[in-house]
Symmetry: C2
Subunit: 179 residues, 2 copies
């Protein structure tokens, strides 16, 4: 069935550093009109670095919107026009100091399609070797190495709370177990 | 290490129907200041209904921010002060027409903690029996029943793109396989 919502009017509310906000007035399938609050985001990339011993290099950082430190996979926003793969390679080295011989796609997903167009691309990095840590200025992160098996348990027990990290951990685990 | 970012100033940009936007000026650990664009969201609940035959009742709906139909688990926003469990029970019946004898928590997560405080609570519903479909006015959804095993394949092949649905499918599958 076609549930497409035609845009009648689009109001730009805010143009920001990372996100924009617009409110669209739409025509619903039943002829009514409604509004949709939409956060525009450039998209991002998460990359799960898995060592030969099946350990994962995670990063811990403060996330202001939720007011707490989050344990996450290395990740970053896409620059305008940037290839997700290139972004993943860059963020991996910047945040962990490692480069990778092999980078495998774990697909992409919408973080929360009810109010934002943000797409997150996921990769798994293996065959790791030393590069150079280069965190962004004003970015404060610390790395923590944990067995993949332990991270799967932490996901199931609710100790990993970031969506992209949960998805990357579960997908990487399934991929590794099936190969 | 304490990477806490102290709020110096908070500007309310937009107060909306579902989301609010504010921009906080924060003090970084190195003494610099920066701004954080923060989308405030009331949070939501997703519930994966699994039949005795290990089939899942999914819903398909148009998501304006991404401009496409998405195949998702039944879900809804939390009303102010509402208990997530009660919200899950309500959304399950409203969207699928089923009630459940057993509802198990699958934990909660942050959809994208870099720019929003949205928390999503996940449940699994089993022991399903007929209730009454009551979609919200101006909500257009259709249900689709698919084997859980097939949905896990669809997740791995990138055919399910919604974060909460991916996480609920993989967690439910692991939970069922381990019991």
């Amino acid at each position: 069935m076609d549930f497409n919502e035609k845009t009648i009017k689009s109001d730009k509310i805010y143009l920001g550093k990372i996100i924009n906000l617009r409110v669209d007035t739409v025509l619903l399938p039943n002829g009514h009109t409604s509004t949709r609050e939409i956060v525009e985001h450039p998209g991002g990339v998460g990359i799960i670095p898995v060592t030969d011993n099946k350990e994962v290099i995670m990063v811990r950082q403060f996330r202001k919107p939720v007011g707490e430190m989050c344990l996450e996979i290395p990740a970053g926003k896409l620059n305008f026009g940037e290839d997700p793969y290139e972004c993943g390679v860059r963020e991996l080295e910047e945040e962990t100091g490692y480069k990778a011989k092999n980078i495998t796609s774990l697909g992409h997903f919408y973080s929360t399609p009810g109010f934002t167009n943000e797409i997150l691309y996921l990769y798994m990095a293996t065959g790791l070797y030393k590069g150079q840590v280069k965190p962004d200025e004003d970015e404060f992160i610390e790395t923590e190495v944990l067995p993949l098996e332990k991270l799967v348990q932490m996901v199931m027990q609710g100790e990993i709370k970031d969506a992209k990290s949960i998805i990357a951990i579960l997908k990487a685990d399934m991929l590794i177990k099936n190969t």
